[in-house]
C-alpha cells in the first residue's frame, strides 16, 4: 500500500492530467454519497441532541446545547461518521469497480490502447475523494446541526436564529481547521484503500467480492488510526 501511495504521488503531478475524468469522478463521489450523508447527518444531529438533553437539563445547562453539539459534531463526530459512511459507499464501490475491471481485462485493454490506467483510474479517483470528502463532511455537519436545531426548536422553543447564533459563537478557527485538514486525509485514505484493493484484485468473482469487502474494512480501520494521529497533532498545535 505504501508503494501504491508513492506511485500516486509520483503520478499526480506529472502530465498528462486526466481533468475530465477527475471532474467526472468528483461528481460521482459527491453525488452518490450526498443523500446518504444528508440522512446520516440529520439523524445524527437529531439523536445526539435528544440523548444529551435530559443530562444537560439535570445540570440546568440546556442553554449550552448548541455549543456542545456544534463543537462535538464539527470537531469529531461529523467527520468520523461521514467518513465511515463514505468508506462504505465510495470505498467499496471503487474496490468492486476496479476489481471487476481488472478481472475482465479492462485495465489491460486500457494499457494496451496506450493509456496509463493508473493515472486514468487510480489517480483521478483518489484525488476526487481527497477533494470531495471535506465538502461532504461540511455538508454533513451542516445537516446534523440543522437536525439538532429542529429538536431544540420543538423541545425547548429555541428559535433557529438563536440556535445558529450560539453555534457560530461557539465554533472557532481552532475547531474548523484541524477538522478540515483531517477530512482531507480521510478522503485520501478512502480513495487509496478502495483503489489499492480493486487494482490488486485477485482473479475471479470471489476476488472482486473480497476486494470490495476488504476496502471497507481496511479503510474504516485506517480512518480511526488517522483520526487518532490527527487529534494528537491538533492537541499540540491548536490547543483543543
Amino acid at each position: 500500500m505504501t508503494l501504491f501511495a508513492k506511485r500516486y504521488f509520483k503520478s499526480v503531478f506529472t502530465r498528462p492530467f486526466e481533468w475530465e475524468e477527475l471532474l467526472r469522478q468528483s461528481y460521482l463521489v459527491a453525488n452518490k454519497s450526498l443523500l446518504l450523508v444528508a440522512v446520516t447527518g440529520f439523524i445524527l444531529g437529531l439523536v445526539f441532541t435528544l440523548q444529551s438533553r435530559p443530562t444537560l437539563a439535570e445540570f440546568g445547562a440546556v442553554s449550552w446545547m448548541p455549543s456542545m453539539v456544534s463543537i462535538s459534531i464539527v470537531r469529531e463526530i461529523g467527520p468520523v461518521i461521514t467518513a465511515l459512511v463514505c468508506a462504505g459507499k465510495i470505498g467499496s464501490g471503487m474496490g468492486a469497480e476496479l476489481g471487476s475491471m481488472k478481472v475482465t481485462e479492462q485495465i489491460d485493454a486500457m494499457e494496451v490502447s496506450g493509456t496509463n490506467p493508473f493515472k486514468y483510474l487510480v489517480v483521478s479517483r483518489i484525488t476526487a475523494t481527497t477533494l470531495m470528502l471535506p465538502l461532504l463532511i461540511i455538508f454533513g455537519d451542516t445537516v446534523a446541526l440543522l437536525g439538532s436545531a429542529i429538536v431544540e426548536n420543538l423541545k425547548g422553543g429555541v428559535s433557529f436564529v438563536l440556535y445558529f447564533n450560539k453555534v457560530f459563537d461557539a465554533i472557532t478557527f481552532n475547531d474548523l481547521l484541524p477538522a478540515t485538514i483531517k477530512s482531507v486525509f480521510f478522503g485520501f485514505v478512502i480513495g487509496l484503500v478502495g483503489c489499492f484493493k480493486g487494482y490488486n484484485c485477485e482473479k475471479g468473482t470471489a476476488g472482486v467480492g473480497r476486494a470490495s469487502n476488504s476496502a471497507v474494512v481496511y479503510a474504516s480501520m485506517m480512518l480511526f488510526v488517522v483520526d487518532f494521529i490527527a487529534v494528537f497533532i491538533s492537541d499540540i498545535f491548536f490547543e483543543i
Binding site: D108, G114, T115
Partner: protein
Amino acid sequence: MEIEQSREVILEISDLKKSFGSNQVLDNFNLKLYKGENLVVMGKSGSGKSVMVKCLVGLIGADSGRITIKDKNITSLSQESLDLLRTEIGFLFQGSALYDSMTVRENLEFPLRRHKKRLQINETNEAIVLEALKSVGLAYAIDLMPSELSGGMKRRVALARALILKPSIIIYDEPTTGLDPITAKEIIALMNSIQDTYGTSALIITHDVDCARVVADRVILLIDGKNYIEGTFTELSTSTDAKVRAFFK
C-alpha cells in the same frame, strides 16, 4: 526461405523466457511476423500463448529475450514511446474487455480521444467510430451499453475498437473462444475481411483448429513454452509427429 527473407519482418520475438516461480512458461520462444501475414500460434491451454502476447505488448515483463516491433525493442522503450508504439497494435482480448461503464461509442472513442492529435487524424470522432462499426456490421449498436450486447456482438465491437486507430498489427487472443460455431465462423470471416480491407498483419493465438485452418498463412505450435513445429496449416495437419497429430486430430 528465400521468400521469407525478402519480406519485411514487422514483429519479432527472440529467445523469450518467462517463468512464474518454478514454472517455466516460455522457454526460448521465437517468432517472426511478416508484413501482411496471418500467423497463428497454437497450443493447448496453459502452454504459454497468452503469457507470450502479454509480454509482446508489455503487459508483463519477460525474464529475458528480445521483442522487436517495427524495429523497436519494446524492453528499452520509455513509457511514452511504448504508448505510441501500442497505437500501432490492435488487441482483441479473449473476453472482449469492453469498458462496461461506457457505451459502444465511448468505448471506441476512448483510444481516439487520447491519440487523435498525436496521430494527426483529421476526421471527426463520429465518422471514425461509424466507419469502424460499419466494418464489423454493428453501426446500429453505437449507443448501446456492453451489457446489452450478445457475446458475438461484444467480440465484434472489441474488434472495431482494436481497429479504431488503424493499426498495422492486430493481435487476436483466442478470438473464437466461448462463441457458438456460427458466430465463431462470422468472426473468422471478419478477421479475413479486415486483413483484406486494412492490409494488417495478424498474430492469432488460438487452440481452435477450424479458425487456424481458415485464417493461417503460417502456424507455430507451442508446446511446453517452446516452438515445437512451424509451417503451413496443411504441413502441420499432415505431420506424422505424434504430438502434432494429437493436436490436429
